[in-house]
Amino acid sequence: MNDVAVIGAGMTVFQRRLKETGKELSYLATKMALEEAGITKKDIDMVVMGSAPDAFDGIHQKGENLLDGAAGAGKPYVRVFNGGGTGVFAPIAGWWHVASGVADIALVVCEEKMGNCYPHPQTAFRHIWDPILDRPLAPNLVWLFAMEMNRYMTKYNIKKEDIARVAVKNKRNAVGHPCAQLPDEKITIEDVLNSEMMAWPVQRLDISPPSDGASALILCSKDKVRQFTDDPVWVDGVGWNIDSTMWTNRDLCFPRYVANAARMAYKMAGIHNPRKDIDFAEPYDPFDYKELHHMEGLLLCNKGEAPILTREGVTERDGDMPMCPSGGLMGVGNPIAATMGQKVCELYWQLAGKAGKRQIPGDPLVGVGQAWGDIMQMATVAVLRRG
């Protein structure tokens, strides 16, 4: 396999509604990534598009709709999709384009426009449930996460305030992010605990917002990378794994599919002791408890230990193991696939020392990003390393 480096990244503003079309957003994110890499469309060999359920945009097979905005016209182009896992799976697909040797430079573009959907993007989520067993009960997707969160809290005796800490940390971290939708320097644990009850134990400020947005990433083979940079950031390992769709037959306390994906990525990256070898992480945080759940799934701490480490400040940007220094989905926003901007682009920016106000102190060497999707079953993991 060829070694694969990141040479550019870009993202748009994330917001509940953006004026631009999905195609235009794809163009804006891609342009930024091309500028950072110092290349143009003609230098791109192949394009990967990541976008989650068609039902948000309301355009079926939206890969085709987005094509021209993603610099894909006239090139080998493919759209990949696995729900919330797409934001890290799209760069994984980009990685194998380059690692396999079929492309020297691959562009990865992720887009989501949830603001198109009325009365609420939640309405689109109605159509992902099993039509025979689940839909007659008129479910809301938040139920799933409420049930998983409850099981996790109950099993490990976790207090709601220790989960709320994640929302506070990430919304504060997002203050340094120019694209952020919900940065909040002054938010407190009490604000989260006093926010509207949606589906117990999930409250309004436990949830990331629906958003519009796009992000882009440019991957390059080892053979070509020295043309662009002397200090490359490498994609050292990738992993993905999915658990059974029979979610009512699974223990929801521990995301074993995340652990499987992490082990795959760590093995490829030569990481034997993730707690020691990884400097920071961007675990998927569409809900505050998910950051904790995923820290454990990524084998960065023991089961049930993530809330304790968070309380002790270990996961703050200046802590021993920063989590979501970008501000995550909780702070920057959650345009499903486009969260590649926080989960992979951010790893690149941090490792390249380009994260500005969000920069983790101490020159981090290795970061892991992760996304999660489908019916609480899909995990996608990428390990990036400096130099």
Binding site: T12, V13, H120, Q122, N140, M147, W200, G356
Partner: protein
């Protein structure tokens, strides 16, 4: 383009719009309401399972090789990837494995009277094996993980072969206390 920012991303392209901008026609947009219907075949396992519900019974399927009793039933086992073996009638009692108290309907509209919803592992099936359903005859303060519950069925005349032939699960006698 937005102004240059120190660090990456170096600027923040995109134009934020609010709901107010749309309501007040400050931005141009177009509208579409899809009209579409579906009919789904139930397949082998679900057909039998739903007929069971119509008759007031919860049916499972055994996988002898994996020593599992599967509910919801399926015709093949996702672990050993072999065919499952036999139909088995389970009890209509079980345990709450997890739950939520929802103030949202399926369109994320706010509702005053919360829906009690959760996963019930069914007695006689393998551990954790069960399905999602409503809870009733208990308050939001009484419901808890580990609570023993029993199905409350619609009358035989009302049943139609659907998961909603069970109205909800209620506390099993003596099972309502924490």
């Amino acid at each position: 383009m937005a102004k240059k920012i120190e660090g990456s991303p170096g600027y923040a392209p995109g134009t934020r719009v609010s709901t107010k901008d749309i309501v007040e026609n400050k931005i141009s947009y177009t509208w579409w309401e899809p009209e579409i219907q579906y009919s789904w075949s139930l397949g082998q396992a679900m057909s039998k399972f739903l007929v069971g519900l119509k008759n007031g019974k919860i049916l499972g399927r055994t996988c002898i090789k994996c020593d599992r009793v599967l509910v919801p039933p399926r015709m093949f086992c996702e672990h050993c990837y072999g065919p499952t073996d036999n139909w088995i009638e389970l009890k209509d009692t079980g345990t709450i494995e997890t739950f939520s108290i929802s103030y949202l309907d399926s369109d994320a509209r706010r509702i005053k009277k919360p829906i009690l919803i959760g996963v019930i592992s069914i007695d006689g099936a393998s551990p954790l094996h069960g399905f999602m359903h409503y809870f009733g005859e208990m308050t939001k303060d009484e419901i808890h993980i580990g609570m023993k519950v029993k199905a409350v069925w619609k009358s035989p005349r009302e049943r139609e072969g659907a998961i909603t032939d069970i109205k909800y699960f209620k506390p099993l006698k003596g099972g309502g206390k924490k």
